[in-house]
Amino acid sequence: MENLIIDETVYTPRINLDIENGLIELVGKSYPENTFEFYKPMMDWVESYFSGNEQAKTIINFEIIYFNSSSSKLFFDFFDLIEEVTEKGKYVEINWIYDPDNDSALEAGEDFKEDFVKLNFKLVEK
């Protein structure tokens, strides 16, 4: 299994999936034309990472300043997956990083935190 880096574009975030450091990182905007297709490589990677390739501790950094509703759906699916693996005993920390000037980014983070009470979900001011 290899690390996966997807460069940032106008419509999509930079994605950094790093096995050695146990890091899953998304930075930028997310309103791709075909959201589920765009994120498929990431979702596949995350699944195989947690099937035995994971570090003792995994850090997930989300720094998404803007996203469309299908991205929002996808993030819910993503956190569902994370919730499943933590129920199986994997240790995961999630940082939702937001700019204090960006109200909607903070609100979105609060939404996810509220929905996934079992997750170690932190709102981190930039």
Partner: protein
Amino acid sequence: MEPFENKLIGEIEELQSKFNQTTQKLIKDVRRQDKIMSRSDKRQKQEYDELQKKFAEVEALQREIEETQKEVVFTMGAIGESRSKETGNHVKRVAQYSKILALYYGMNEKEAELLKQASPMHDIGKVAIPDSILNKPGRFNDEERKIMDTHAKLGFDMLNKSNRPLLKMATTVAYEHHEKWNGKGYPRGLKGEEIHIYGRITALADVFDALGSSRVYKKAWEDERIFKLFKEERGEHFDPKLIDIFFEHLDEFLEVRDSLKDL
């Protein structure tokens, strides 16, 4: 002995449990979708409001630019006129007369309005004429007349560099407002329709107003005397078509003159 239980019950119970799980998941999904939708609606509204605000700002800026341009042009015209002892109202009247002539000549509202704004700049070249000549009370000698007449070309040279539609129009007006239909005008001695319609219109508007206004060196002409001259100069100094328009709509010109009297 255990009482006999129909094995179907076990199967149905299993189905029931699966069904419960599935409906639970469906309920969770629907709630989540609703949440995504309402969040997205809220955000769209904010974004739309923000866009509307920005559009309004852009429009206000656009208006500001246009108004500023008009003001600058009008002020330039007034500067030119003040150098030649005209009054501010002369500029305003020439502007109005030019627009009336333009509309009846067949220009659309936009072009006529632009000419209204450009025509006051016809004498801008006078800012470069020495005071000693410009303010001379009596008649000019030949040498002075020659210098005075350079104001048309001077105005052209001043405005010619601009690419703004309004200033380009003003360039034509400044350059050609002393040309005469019969080719005896200046600076180029253009003839008939060689003279741009902007120049022909401003020439008539300017002369009509100048003759009807009193100056330090002359009294205002009586209307009859102006009309007689205009009839004589039809096809000489002035475009015959414009003279016809002038007499056909004389009431409108006189109305403008009355509403913008010199104080």
